[in-house]
Amino acid sequence: MSTPSGITLVTLTKDIRLEWRSKDALNSMLFFALLVVVVFSFSFDPNAEESRVIAGGLVWVAFLFAAVVALNQTWAREIRNQVLDAYRVSPAPANALFLAKAVGNFIFVAVLEGLMTPLFIVFYKLRALGPAWQLIPVAILGTWAIVVNGTFFAAMSLRTRSREIMLPLLLFPITIPALLSMVEATTTILLGDPTTSAKFWIVLLATYDVVFTTGCLALFETVLHAE
């Protein structure tokens, strides 16, 4: 139980169980997903021919904002119950806590994406003209890119003024290369132009994920103890 992976698993299952018990969180997620897609449909006409070109960007911007909503409450429960102080004095490696939070957020955001995607497909009559299976690594790598940095910056923003605005302020600039890759990959796959390939973007996303996951794991202990 005191192994790092053991701690990660325990923390993760605890978080999932807590979220599942409070069904209002799930219901508000559902409604939020629907609202986002409807608002975007009003803002960007889904019937126009160009919608296929911009759909890649639309979808990821919607996911990004949904992720920020999820990330902002990452540490809320921990702060309310002074759990972080307990973690600081315990011999448990801080990485285990970080990984649990990041994976928990990943699942949370993935569920949101899973709810929004069919709505987007319906409203925008989306159809992938390129290799659709490539969308899966793009979705996984892209979501992890947002979530891993988001969880880290959420921890950094804990003691700052205007905590909720600080998270997107810190997250968005750093995520730009990942965001560009996600959007370009998705657009390439949707448009299905045979001269283009999403492979470069997928590799770039994977590199981004490796670099920043390493960075977060290396620096989380420092950030946790700095609070």
Partner: protein, 288 residues
Amino acid sequence: MKKAFPFLGLLTAVLLSYALYQALVVAPQEQTMGDVQRIFYYHVPSAWTAFLLFAINFLASILYLVRRNPKTDQIANWVVIGLAVLTCAGAYAFRGYLPADVYPSSVATTGIVIAGLYFLIRKFFSEQGTDILALTTAEVGVVFCTVVLVTGPLWARPVWGIWWTWDIRLTSTLVLWLIYVSYLVLRRFSSSGETPVLAAALAVFGALDVPLVYFSIWFFRTQHPQPVIGGGGSIDPRMLRVLLVNWLAFLCFAALVCWSRYRLERMQRDVEETQALEALLEPGGRVR
């Protein structure tokens, strides 16, 4: 040291005036763009200065994080030396893989200069000094970066008719600017106990991001070609001379501005410390 300041200030002013004269009068007029091209002599040195300042910020941030623990300090020293050696060896061993206009000697020199800067900062700045250095170079870097982002569109508009294009250099500079502005916002909004550590962590993340930003925009641009602001290709040696003179002038200017900002911050912290001590020692236990 302090007495040298007005003298150096005057020297810098003279240098800047000379550089301005060179840029406006002496430099030959460009064939296709005309006089507007002279913006180049302010745009490019500002960019190089900003990048240098951000590089120093990166080194200072790493130093701050690493020096909190004597063990990591030792390891970091060896890592820096090792990386410098690897860069030199690699530049010559893999010279075939380098892009056309990049020489192995410049890569090797850059590696040695960066390692040298690391050890210079380590020697001359205390732990708190390193943190102040990071803050200073970030602020002044953002100022120079703002200049780049303002002069770029002012150059693009008359030449290409558009204010902005997602050209690789300007876009990378914009993202860099965004990252460092967020760094400064974090510095301002977080409570002073843990700010240096958090800011240093953010600076490291920002630096890790830079190559990724560059590659992503580079590939994006090959997919969607756009005009290149800032001119590529070879440069007339007379223009190069004017460019370097302007860069030298701006470097001196940047050094003076950083020095002033550094002194201001140091004084600020001393005052805060004194006020805190006074509050503790106040008779009757009144807290300010």
